[in-house]
């Protein structure tokens, strides 16, 4: 493949003029999904990377034009399938913005609880799979993976009690939420959250005192402040590079202004900084869940109760963009409506799409093993990238 197709070529000065183009194919134990990287290698150092995506392009935007506002939220959860609550929330918020639908306070608090619990579950999976990639599937990586999945299963049990599903929920609808909390659920959530908080201490102790982990993540995959803003990354990637940008603070949605939490920002910009940001986010999510449960108001869970017909939500002509802080960054949905029951145009702003776009700029100069560490710390979910 000619060099004009690659983004940035770093002259390593290896001496040898043999460059190897290696394919880290769509099926790879650590590619986090279907993602293909064509690496140009000089020895063990990556000199250029061409990222090929689209292996999971499921026509979300076109299907969104054929499905009504009532039918689509279940499909919306399949964009960021690891953090399905936030994906649905982005779509439903966009519709509510255009239609100027009032969401009752209880529904807003329920949405916050669901979103933050989902963030905890998603970060559990992130930590597990990242360490699995770095440590090897048969060795130390599987340790952290199994521990994190154990915690994640507890949160998924809470979701199963709430909505009936473990992974893809269909919890949000236009105007509120679809399910209310069952009796005894908030006690169980408090117990789960207390338990997880103690376990986070364990993970931090396990990883941060491990020399291999620290050496593999410090100074690796540095995203500078300018690059982060230029490319449009969001979430832990941009907060790990020193920019204090969190959608929950920039444009508070769903009563996030009522809660007291800290947005972690690190300045180093490397994998270790992003790891620290996510570990602090764990604790802050737990804090928000506790506050939301304490302050959960009584009231209806939706301003449009019940789904009677598929075309019942009609949105006036207009357009709107709503964004939420997903586990990976800013997930946004831009809807153009022409007055019918279906959108005229729907665009997903996937957090992982912009996050992945930074890869061709930060990977060159690193070794192949560092590519694995960087991929894990970028934490892409390909439902969001390819939509």
């Amino acid at each position: 493949m000619p060099d004009t197709l690659t983004k940035q070529v770093v002259e390593v000065g290896y001496g040898g003029n043999e460059r190897l183009m290696m394919n880290m194919g769509p099926q790879h134990p650590s590619s986090h999904g279907v993602f293909r990287m064509i690496l140009t290698l000089e020895g063990e150092t990556v000199v250029a990377v061409d990222a090929v995506i689209g292996y999971l392009h499921r026509c979300h935007e076109k299907l969104g034009e054929t499905l009504t506002y009532v039918q689509y939220p279940s499909i919306a959860s399949k964009t960021d399938y690891v953090a399905a609550m936030t994906s649905e929330l982005a779509y439903v918020s966009a519709v509510e913005t255009i239609a100027k639908v009032e969401v009752p306070k209880r529904a807003q608090y329920l949405r916050v609880i669901a979103a933050e619990l989902q963030r905890i579950a998603s970060h559990c999976l992130w930590l597990g799979t990242w360490c699995l990639d770095m440590g090897g599937a048969l060795g130390g990586g599987a340790t952290v993976f199994l521990y994190c999945i154990r915690e994640r299963e507890m949160v998924l049990d809470r979701f199963e009690e709430l909505t009936g599903a473990r992974l893809l929920y269909g919890f949000h609808q236009v105007g509120g939420t679809r399910y209310d909390i069952p009796p005894g659920w908030d006690t169980k959530v408090r117990e789960t959250v207390d338990f997880i908080e103690r376990r986070i201490d364990e993970y931090e102790a396990m990883l941060e005192r491990n020399t291999f982990f620290v050496v593999r993540t410090r100074g690796v995959g540095v995203i500078s402040r300018e690059l982060a803003q230029d490319v449009g990354v969001s979430g832990p990637l941009i907060r790990g590079s020193g920019v204090n940008y969190d959608v929950r603070r920039a444009e508070p949605y769903s009563s996030y202004g009522d809660f007291d939490f800290v947005v972690p920002v690190e300045t180093a910009g490397d994998c270790y900084a992003r790891y620290r940001v996510r570990m602090v986010e764990f604790r802050q999510s737990i804090r928000i869940v506790r506050q939301a449960l304490d302050g959960l108001p009584e009231g209806p869970i939706s301003s449009r109760p019940g789904v009677k017909s598929v075309g019942q939500v009609r949105v006036p002509k207009g357009e709107g963009y709503a964004r939420v802080e997903g586990a990976r960054g800013e997930v946004g949905c831009y809807i153009v409506s022409d007055g019918g029951p279906k959108p005229y145009r729907m665009k997903w702003r996937g957090a992982s799409f912009s996050n992945l776009a930074v890869l061709p700029h930060i990977v060159p100069g690193h070794k192949v093993a560092d590519v694995v560490a960087i991929m894990g710390s970028v934490d892409p979910v390909f439902g969001e990238v390819d939509r």
Partner: protein
């Protein structure tokens, strides 16, 4: 630099002569295609909108395509949405890839889905679909269940 939405709207009006609608912290500007790159440079340098959020297009059937771009100034909390109508049958649009590295993949996706040719883009090829795909799916005359033997 503290730039409010009203301030930004006034500066755009006096520099380019186009009206900029203000809605809270969001400024929406509709420009003709010729002013697209200039406005982007102005927004980046003068208004400090260095955060490239997204770029996409809308197919307005007989009115042609419209390219929409959203830029933000994270420190001031200013959001700027730039829109340009390409006109019926027209698919060329100047590229912002030289200005913002985030425009790279976003414009490739726009080309892939709508067929908008971004002039000045270093590497305009399909990103989500395979290189030999025919047709631009998100256009209104493309059916969602177009067959593709033998897979569907």
């Amino acid at each position: 630099m503290s730039t409010t939405a009203a301030d930004a709207s006034a500066r755009i009006r006096e520099t380019f002569g186009v009206e900029a609608a203000v809605d809270g912290a969001m400024v929406t500007v509709v420009v003709p295609r010729e002013l697209w790159t200039e406005l982007a440079h102005f927004t980046n340098r003068v208004l400090g909108c260095r955060y490239f959020n997204w770029l996409s297009a809308i197919d307005w059937k007989e009115h042609g395509l419209e390219v929409v771009c959203r830029l933000e100034n994270l420190d001031a909390g200013l959001v700027l949405t730039m829109r340009t109508r390409l006109g019926p049958g027209e698919t060329r649009c100047p590229s912002l890839a030289g200005l913002c590295r985030g425009a790279d993949w976003m414009e490739r996706e726009c080309y892939d889905m709508f067929g908008v040719r971004f002039e000045g883009h270093p590497d305009l090829r399909r990103i989500l679909l395979s290189e030999d795909w025919e047709g631009y799916p998100l256009r209104k005359d493309y059916a969602v269940d177009t067959p593709f033997a033998p897979y569907r």
